[in-house]
Symmetry: C2
Subunit: 113 residues, 2 copies
Amino acid sequence: TGLGLLAGCASSSGTFTQSGKASFYADKFNGRETASGTTYRPNKLTAAHNTLPFGTVVRVTNPRNNRSVKVTVTDRGPHAKGRVIDLSKKAARKIGIVDAGVAPVELKVVGHK
Amino acid sequence: TGLGLLAGCASSSGTFTQSGKASFYADKFNGRETASGTTYRPNKLTAAHNTLPFGTVVRVTNPRNNRSVKVTVTDRGPHAKGRVIDLSKKAARKIGIVDAGVAPVELKVVGHK
């Protein structure tokens, strides 16, 4: 995971932040098992991130509208260049990226469950 | 995994086929562990698929240029709507989708390793 953290930024206070693009889960994932062993539900506030530990709480901000949402990392992904996180449908809706499909976001780790 | 198979098509001869969009792994994944426990290497012919068993060999065809490549499923993903497979960099190069980033493909299971 050291490699992944290098792609983000640890500030002097140790806060992990990262910029990149977000997408969200297709509806067909409802009921499927995530990499952490939990079941994906579109109405939960969860996300897939490639390196942050499961249970990490991340604040995801859409700089286009300044809306943000806190999500818990429960899964791994995405693989495509520039993508940093895949949000649950509810989380994507909260920050207004469902219509766009893909949108720039800013991540900040704010806790752990 | 039954849900996933329903998204594809089992023909009368039992062949699994699926149409959708492919993307490919960002270079930063080089050396990282896949969901199957293997190490991702850009120069191997591998892929991430959400439901096919690890070790399944899939022929991936780009209908725009009729080029195809056989890849082995070693990882899980992608999550975004319409996406069916994430290819290794070498596999993506072989069917000519690196510049486009995302492209329609047709999948057909052809074996197992």
